[in-house]
């Protein structure tokens, strides 16, 4: 956008209004993120409203999208080194992708805080957080059923 700035707005204001206040778009947005680059949620359009807890809006140009093809895990252990919850992201993600949710839970999937450090640091570009999130969803759904 033209001039990034801090705005005080009412809850419910559409993101497009915020963009207008910042001088409008300078190009087509490649990705719209509500929140920060590590934990924010990607949005489908600029017509979504500001909600409680919207800490910021981030726009990527299409060229900013770091789309690296995923590779196999080489067990470098970087995700383990950076994990603040001290779990084993690569192991949990591997179980989650095989739909072995009980094993994922046993390795501490529910303790993941989804900070994104593991996915950020993965040299093979494996979407670790995404896989762990899916495991958490499946585990919670199963708990609710019981």
């Amino acid at each position: 956008m033209a001039e990034p700035k801090n705005l005080r707005v009412a809850i419910g204001t559409p993101l497009s209004h915020l963009i207008e206040q910042c001088g409008g778009l300078t190009g087509e947005p490649g990705k719209i993120i509500m929140g920060g680059p590590m934990m924010g949620a990607a949005q489908l359009s600029l017509e979504v409203p500001v909600i409680r807890g919207t800490s910021g809006v981030l726009l990527f140009r299409p060229g900013d999208l770091a789309l690296v093809p995923e590779g196999p895990c080489v067990r470098c252990g970087r995700c383990v080194q950076v994990c603040p919850a001290r779990i084993l992201p690569t192991t949990i993600a591997a179980y989650a992708r095989l739909e072995l949710m009980e094993e994922a839970e046993a390795f501490g999937a529910m303790d993941c805080i989804e900070c994104g450090c593991c996915s950020y640091s993965c040299p093979s570009a494996i979407p670790l957080v995404q896989a762990i999130r899916q495991a958490k969803g499946a585990i919670l759904a199963k708990r609710r059923k019981l």
Partner: protein, 333 residues
Amino acid sequence: MTAQPYLSSSPHIRTPETTDRIMRVVIYSLLPACAVSVYFFGVAALVLLLITTLGCLATEALCQRLMGRTPTLGDGSAALTGILLALNLPPYSPWWLALLGAVIAVGIGKQAYGGLGCNPFNPALVARVVLLISFPVQMTTWYAPTPLGSGLDAVTTATPLGEMKTAVMLTGQLPAGLQSPVADYLIGNMAGSLGEISALALLLGGGWLLWKRIITWHIPVAYLGSVVLLGGAFWLVDPSRYPNPLFHLLTGGLMLGALYMATDLVTSPITGRGMLIFGFGCGLLTVIIRLFGGYPEGVSFAILLMNAATPLIDRFTKPRRFGYVRAGEGGRA
């Protein structure tokens, strides 16, 4: 708005680091060791390096084609295996030995398990040990180094570790003067496989890998440290029979093993504590094989044995999760 914005799970940014880049950096870090081998063993060393590297790349491409997979030659892992394999071979090895090694390394050591990231054992070491057991004569014929321009002919000789083993077996004593040429051992002016001779070149490359954070300090420190401690303990007990720790460090394949083979990402544990245990195990086995085993050198066997223990080590070194008191005793803090 025409195109739909891209949607994906967070995080939305990632490190510029890629697996390909890691492999390339490791290959560059081996250049000093390769240069030393060419200096001491001439063009033959270069030819061996080329045979194994091209052999590994060709095997990788062939296996992936047969399995109907997309070839991944560009990731550099096959080339790296090839270079490491050459550095683990005796100088002037016959071409067929090197080529066979390359096929074994990538075909049996790596692709048979499913390719990059799936192999339990270090592919280059698998090939080296298969060759060592199948072709003991070719794999233990060592040559004294003939520096470029020295005009010397290649002469077969024993490695310092081999000399030690023979003398200790025959006389129960270390050969006189074996431990004195420390400077030669440091530069690499001794018999040995292509890449293991120069501790200095290997330390240079290994230090660079540490600096670039490709490897962590855990495995090299635990491995070298335990060899120094255990080797040193025996040396203190009987210095006429057991060599001093510096001799252990500088001769044989220890430096190459501790800095490059044991730190192989795929086949070593993923946690720091696990890496320390892994390194210590390698050190213990190396010293035992060197001093009491049938082979003069134990680095490759030690690392392969610890590779086999890696899943077990990973299982028992799960980090204590944030917010938990002592794993196993239950209850949140």
